[in-house]
Symmetry: C2
Subunit: 497 residues, 2 copies
């Protein structure tokens, strides 16, 4: 006879195995599936989703969780029980009919959004958005909250995060960040990014991208790099993590920093404890912590001068025609150009969080019912001007630019900004713990940082909530200071401030 | 309320969807999975296999089949009920413990076989083979038979086929075929195959392989061609069929005819009726019929003179360095060289069936318990000399060459030879139905033959058993005559007979 905990673990592992199969079906859909395969793939994904949902909400799992109500002494057991209970509670609270209804409404909403964006006409999308908001409010009420419905949605992506606390941090950040962007923007000194728009053959980009990913610790014996329209990292197990990127021959940063970003996600997945594969102790904490790892490697390491002190000679040789007349300083300046713009996905690391704050502030009001759907375009444009100093000429370049809302995804955007803040805190803590880290990076030693992240973050699985982990690892709660200090120290010299 | 038949169909479709997921997991394992992914992949395959087995043997399915006992008037319904009953009956008769036991014994047997082959020492493999034979006899007894246990095993791969009938046909074939091989072998006139061992760059081979596959009707919008160690065709649905091949730069036939072979399987899968996807009416009949389609396109079309009248100019231009001095006649002769040899997988289309007859005759005796395992090497060597005129120097080149027995696979080999016989009958019937087929092929028109096969074979799904289909389409029961006539007509000129 196995113990209730062993039975729980067996069920949880099976769910994880089935989810990892879903993950492969999705990866294949985006990378290798022949175009006509879509219909059957939808059926395959649908049956797998049903199998997972049935297991996630099974009475057997509920009974086991009932028996395991007490606190387990062993932290591994405690984590696995706590997190399984969390996902079980959420899953049983939302009726399968409501999930199905959202999926169906969202299918139409996505099509309407695509048309609306094409015509730059928000009114075509508005009724669908209203319907989705109503349904997501119902989801929030089913899950339960203390008056702030957004909490229930946010916690799907960032367990334990509180809307009020996030709002407070973002409110603290928006003023100084916006002011810093204005300062940079008004300076007459600035890097020249046009050198990044020369010619960069895809094959040479791929070679460099693979070199950089491997250098920061991505293990190609336990992973792959392929091509897809939208880059992503699909991590089904620590031993099989799949990155994608896209090569733009007339824009150097897309594939190179895109790969470093996905490889940052990838080393986190590969660094999870394989002994706990398919269980919470072997899983990533939250989207915010995941994003902290991609941003740390992409921006804080990958766009730093020391990183390119090591790699620029190889890079220059690989793209001799385009970079032959470009110095290391010119190159590092170019990849760190700050330019307030309308489109989030093209934003640099300084202005990025302003795009997120804008979305978070609007989403919170929308879910609370304090912002009418009809008023979204005006609110969007006003906030864009206020935060970034630019004005969208139309809704296609404004409130219709992102697909997320048409998918019924609310509470997801803030994890991007949280990721940037977490990353800066981890980055500062790593530099305190490894005093010669800068020199190590310039010398091509990324293993020391990788090991530090592995020990302090990856190996903990879901043992701590994001906020707890940040405090544990960095010695302070979530704060804007390390992020602002990092930005000021890094960007001021490029802009002669 | 859905009818019992609709409920049956729903269950059957779900099984098919899950099997198609298994198929993708296998394909990925062979083509793209990073090496460290194996352990988790084994767990994924194991849970999927359990889900499929649970559904295949579910009491619900049994009850539905009980209600549907009568003959359905509609041929589609009749087919789906009959074939679902067949697989259900087989599945419930073999206890899951026995299936597990065979899987476990076979894991050790495969390892022992690999060592035994390396050391060329049959005694290392013998005890494992004895154990597997004992277990497979138990499977046969559970499934049931009329005294000939081999029937129960054969019917897993070739439903409806009778061992006695297969034995009779093979007995008829062995004499004339063996004699024809001797005649060819004794002739002083013979083609020169050495031109096929020159240099053929992989990229140019891939281009030609894709051209040929597309020409015979393989639709790349509903399929792919990748690289794997052992070529295969993985057809999860008619809209997503995946071929693999392997490029040998110093041996022209491997990738080119390998691709044509797999594409032959592929056009069959793509030609199945998508309306009946995931049900018996939308599935291939048997391994023998499947092999008939691969062999027909690979050998009867793909190694014919008319085929290369159309393609040789392009081929010669692609490999100008190697084929510059090679005439069409020299080329067609070279790809049709007959050479009795020890190894089945390297055999040409004339000697191939002799290798199969040898295995079938031994397997039948082994399962019946009339041939002691210890006597296998001697029996193998005697039959090889008798059928092919050559003698294995050791067991590695003799009875240890194939992996099949170590996997507990008995009753599989004869489907290869049946495929060749079926192919010749279909090929002859197609030429009767399309009198100018030879000229059409020489002119690059493969659509007419493809359409004929589609109408007469692919679209029938599992409506007919293999034997019935052959008789229906060709007007005669399984016979060796079309095969021998085809061989004599094609090969005699190359050998001056």
């Amino acid at each position: 006879m196995s113990s209730p905990y062993e039975s729980l673990l067996k069920s949880v592992r099976e769910i994880g195995q089935l989810e990892s199969v879903e993950s492969l079906l999705d990866w294949d859909l985006e990378t290798h599936m022949p175009p006509n395969g879509l219909k059957a793939r939808a059926e395959q994904l649908s049956i797998m989703a049903r199998l997972v949902h049935d297991r996630r909400t099974s009475p057997h799992l509920g009974e086991l969780l009932g028996t395991l109500n007490g606190d387990a002494a062993d932290p591994v057991q405690a984590t696995n029980i706590r997190e399984t209970r969390r996902t079980y509670d959420r899953a049983v609270k939302v009726p399968v009919e409501l999930v199905g209804k959202i999926a169906s409404v969202s299918t139409h909403a996505k099509a309407a959004w695509a048309r609306a964006r094409k015509d730059s006409d928000f009114t075509q999308f508005a009724p669908h958005l209203s319907e989705l908001l109503e349904l997501k409010r119902e989801v929030a009420d089913r899950i339960g909250h203390d008056g702030e419905r957004y909490d229930a949605l946010l916690s799907e992506f960032e367990p334990g995060a509180q809307t009020a606390q996030v709002a407070e941090v973002f409110a603290e950040l928006r003023g100084p960040l916006s002011k810093f962007v204005t300062q940079l923007n008004q300076s007459s000194t600035r890097p020249d990014p046009s050198i990044l728009c020369r010619r960069f053959p895809a094959a040479a980009q791929e070679k460099l991208a693979r070199t950089l990913a491997a250098a920061i610790g991505f293990d190609f014996k336990s992973g792959r790099l392929d091509v897809s329209t939208h880059p992503f990292c699909s991590g089904s197990t620590p031993h099989d993590v799949r990155l994608t990127t896209r090569y733009q021959e007339d824009f150097f940063p897309a594939a190179i920093f895109g790969t470093l970003h996905e490889a940052g996600h990838g080393v986190y997945e590969q660094g999870l404890d394989a002994e706990h594969m398919f269980t919470p102790m072997g899983s990533a904490i939250s989207l915010g912590i995941h994003e902290s790892q991609s941003r740390l490697w992409e921006n804080m390491v990958g766009r730093s001068r020391p990183f390119w002190e090591h790699f620029y000679p190889e890079c220059k040789a690989a793209f001799a025609e385009s970079f032959g007349d470009v110095s290391l300083d010119q190159f590092v300046g170019a990849i760190n150009t700050v330019q307030p713009s309308l489109i989030r996905v093209e934003a640099d690391e300084v202005t990025y969080n302003l795009h997120i704050i804008l979305r978070f502030e609007l989403e919170r009001e929308m879910i609370a019912g304090r912002l009418d759907v009809a008023d979204i375009p005006e609110a969007w444009n006003t906030k864009t001007k206020e935060l970034l100093g630019v004005s969208p000429p139309d809704d296609a370049n404004g409130c219709l630019q992102d697909i997320h809302w048409s998918m019924g995804t609310f509470g997801y955007f803030p994890t991007y900004a949280l990721g940037n803040l977490y990353a800066a805190q981890f980055h500062a803590a790593a530099h305190r713990a490894i005093p010669d880290l800068t020199q190590r990076i310039a010398a091509g030693d990324f293993r020391t940082l990788h090991e530090w992240l592995r020990t302090n973050i990856y190996r903990n699985g879901q043992r701590y909530r994001a906020g707890e982990l940040v405090e544990l690892v960095t010695g302070q709660p979530l704060s804007i200071e390390p992020f602002m200090a990092y930005l000021r120290e890094k960007f001021s010299p490029f802009y002669g401030l």
